[in-house]
């Protein structure tokens, strides 16, 4: 049997799992791995400037491509810098494998230089993690990591590699056809219980006011096609979570968009009035439900999820189907009867017409206008990433997604700084795509150093910053819920973003007037060899509506500003 170093074996397992790009930064204990990379031209290494960006770029890559993303960091601070990205992948069920270097096995536990208990630190934020203490465990552990990351409910898996393991000799054994690892305790559900599926079909046929509620699980399961077929056959109106955007085209008449805190009024209305909710890969997050006691009060629930622990966690299910959403929904499509529900459809259409989402009329440059223009100029075909905050919610409202894996956002963790690295990852995964990172002036600064990465890699990522000079979502809550006592939200000291971009070798333009928006966006599309940074100076105190305040109900919704005299007493 051939022998090789642990580092060479690592790269071979990566290739065996289809990995052609990794995002990382080297350090002392990962030099052996980088030394092996030197001889491995088929794996592209993208040198980021902060490990958090390595994890988030790996996620952007994974979300766009549907493959497992890989990031690589050194021990201690390198690994701890990954933590936010790993937690994000855990909350949003994104398959990534994080490889971290570790100090030599005999140095572990001695507070050695750049030592951190990384498997301990990441225990609650990984689907699985493992410290490889013996070279003979390396192959099995790595193969398990990829298998666990991509199967079942996907998620991050971390493998911690002491440097003496990566330099030791390993006997190479090829992958066994049945897998050369045993995971007795890991059995992702498959097709779902046929009796439960039949019962679900019966409930759908009988429902007068059904709603299909799709989430990120439908994206992970590649269930878009059967979900669309189900909606069309049974005439179901569809609401989608932030992570479920595009599973059902938001441009379609049957789509009501996103419900919840900043969702459309009509999506929340539909949920509040439905008699049956068919939930596909969604988990009743508090940003969707608000007060659980008053959420969808009259609805029976069919809950389809690959993770049994999600079923019944926040909302009891009348029919629970543990399984792969693609297979389960496919079976449902065959069993449901075509049917019209005239009165319900009419009431939803009418309610939507009476409560539309609107771009505010204004002489000022408003954030909604900018996103609307991005949508129009890209003809709705861009891959959009966002950071977290007001701009994220406006992007969710006004950039309608036609396809899954088109709108990439940090949902569960709500991690500012996500958008730009994720855009880099998405652009690497899909070089032909037009990739727009819609960001805020606060959040872009959390990973702005990646301008170096994107410029060096000649990635034509567009960054549209909605620059309002505030940490806008917190400012909005302080305005609406804390008597306009603005505390810690003014972003005084913002740089000239275009100059920053240019200093890195990227390009950009500052936009201050509505008339300049479209020309700037059209110009950005002509930049193909470097990032393009658009700094939109938008109205500083615009707020996101509709809004259902945290923990409240649909009946508490603010469709517009509850106190339009804003600003008077400041």
């Amino acid at each position: 049997m051939p022998t090789m170093t642990g580092s060479q074996a690592l790269l071979r397992v990566l290739k065996e799992n289809g990995v052609d790009v990794i995002f990382g930064i080297p350090g002392g204990v990962t030099i052996p791995i980088y030394d092996a990379l030197y001889d491995e031209p088929s794996i592209r290494h993208i040198l980021v400037r902060h490990e958090q960006a390595a994890a988030l770029a790996a996620e952007g890559y994974a979300r766009r491509s549907g493959k497992v993303g890989v990031c690589l960091a050194t021990s201690g601070p390198g690994a701890t810098n990954l933590v936010t990205g790993i937690a994000n992948a855990m909350m949003d069920s994104i398959p990534i494998v994080a490889i971290t270097g570790q100090v030599k096995t005999f140095a572990i536990g001695r507070d050695s230089f750049q030592e951190a208990d990384v498997t301990g630190i990441t225990m609650p934020i990984t689907k699985h993690n493992r410290l490889v203490k013996r070279p003979q465990d390396l192959l099995e552990t790595l193969r398990e990591a990829f298998y666990i990351a991509r199967t079942g409910r996907p998620g991050p898996v971390l493998v911690d590699l002491p440097s003496d393991v990566s330099t030791s000799q390993v006997e190479w054994v090829g992958p066994h056809p049945n897998g050369d690892f045993q995971l007795e305790g890991y059995h992702p559900p498959g097709e779902g219980d046929p009796l439960a599926i039949a019962e679900a079909a019966r409930l759908i046929d009988a429902a007068e006011r059904p709603i299909l509620y799709v989430g990120g699980g439908a994206v992970s399961a590649n269930a878009s096609e059967p979900v669309r077929a189900l909606a069309r056959k049974a005439n179901l109106y569809v609401v989608n979570t932030l992570l479920g955007k595009g599973v059902y085209p938001e441009t379609d008449r049957q789509s009501l968009g996103m419900p919840g805190m900043h969702g459309t009024t009509y999506a929340s209305y539909a949920i509040n009035h439905c008699d049956l909710m068919i939930v596909v890969g969604a988990r009743f997050d508090d940003r969707v439900t608000g007060d659980l006691k008053t959420f969808a009060p009259g609805a029976k629930v069919i809950h389809i999820d690959i993770d049994p622990a999600e079923i019944g966690k926040n909302r009891a299910a009348d029919v629970a189907i543990e399984g792969d959403a693609r297979l389960v929904v496919r079976a449902l499509v065959e069993q449901v009867a075509p049917r019209e529900r005239g009165a319900w459809e009419e009431s939803l259409d009418q309610y939507r017409a009476e409560h539309p989402l609107t771009v505010p009329e204004s002489d000022e440059l408003t954030p909604q206008q900018v996103i609307q223009a991005v949508y129009e100029v890209t003809e709705g075909n861009a891959v959009v990433t966002t950071d977290v905050g007001q701009h994220q919610m406006w992007a969710a409202q006004f950039y309608l997604a036609k396809e899954p894996r088109q709108f990439l956002s940090s949902g569960g963790l709500g991690a500012m700084g996500y958008g730009f690295p994720a855009a880099i990852g998405a652009q690497v995964a899909d070089p032909e795509a037009v990739v727009f990172d819609i960001a805020g002036d606060g959040s872009i600064q959390m990973n702005i150093q990646e301008l170096a990465t994107a410029t060096h890699e000649q990635l034509p990522v567009k960054v549209a910053v909605l620059n309002n000079g505030y940490l806008g979502m917190v400012r909005q809550w302080q305005e609406l819920l804390y008597q306009k006592r603005y505390s810690g939200v003014r972003l005084a000291g913002n740089p000239d973003f275009v100059k920053v971009a240019e200093a890195y070798g990227a390009t950009g333009r500052t936009v201050t007037r509505p008339a300049e928006v479209r020309p700037a966006l059209e110009w950005s599309l002509t930049v193909t060899d470097r990032p393009c940074f658009l700094d939109f100076r938008v109205a500083p105190e615009e707020s996101v509506f509709p809004m259902i305040p945290a923990g409240k109900s649909f009946s508490d919704i603010w469709e517009t500003h509850p106190n339009p005299s804003k600003g008077a007493d400041r």
Binding site: H128, I148, E184, G312, K313
Partner: protein, 171 residues
């Protein structure tokens, strides 16, 4: 209500921390825990070092939904091979305690009699002290502790509960 859960886990480093951490971060309390390498006929293991058995006693604090979540979340851990709730099943339950009490030479025979009734053992006698070992169902251990309390308990250690299903059924 208290639930007894038997969990078969991979005998690997960090697994106990993963289980304990899961309870801590989701706000569940562990009343008692026993863990050791084990044998389970359903899972071949010629060397006898692949698996450990954890037996946990958990209080559902009056919310039956909590146990459902605890079991599902435990089951999600890759290193958890199998688990079952034995609160309602026919099981043999055992705990063991070592209790060191004050006892004058005149009290020794009295303590000896008490121990006979509880089928407990006197495992050490020193100057003014007696150490008692009592094993059995948790209620019996509780009762023994109460009977010995008036003598003055100097030290007490008690194991976590272990259970095994009666008959041919596997735990």
């Amino acid at each position: 209500m208290k639930h007894t859960i038997a969990v078969l886990v991979n005998n690997k480093p960090g697994v106990l921390a993963k289980v304990a951490g899961l309870f801590a971060r989701r706000g569940y309390n562990i009343d008692s825990l026993a863990v050791n390498a084990t044998v389970d006929g359903n899972y071949p293991d010629p060397a006898g070092d692949k698996y450990s058995r954890m037996t946990l006693v958990v209080d559902d604090e009056g919310d039956p939904g909590i146990m459902d979540q605890i079991e599902k979340q435990l089951d999600k851990l890759v290193d958890v091979v199998h688990l079952s709730d034995h609160t309602q099943t026919q099981v043999v339950r055992r705990e063991l305690a070592l209790i060191k009490i004050r006892a004058t030479p005149e009290q020794r025979s009295e303590v000896f009699t008490v121990c006979q009734i509880f089928r407990a053992l006197i495992v050490d006698i020193g100057e003014g002290v007696i150490m008692v070992e009592v094993g059995g169902a948790p209620e019996k251990v509780d009762a023994m502790v109460e009977v010995l309390r008036p003598y003055g308990i100097l030290e007490l250690v008690r194991t976590g509960r272990v259970v095994l299903v009666r008959g041919q059924r596997m735990t």
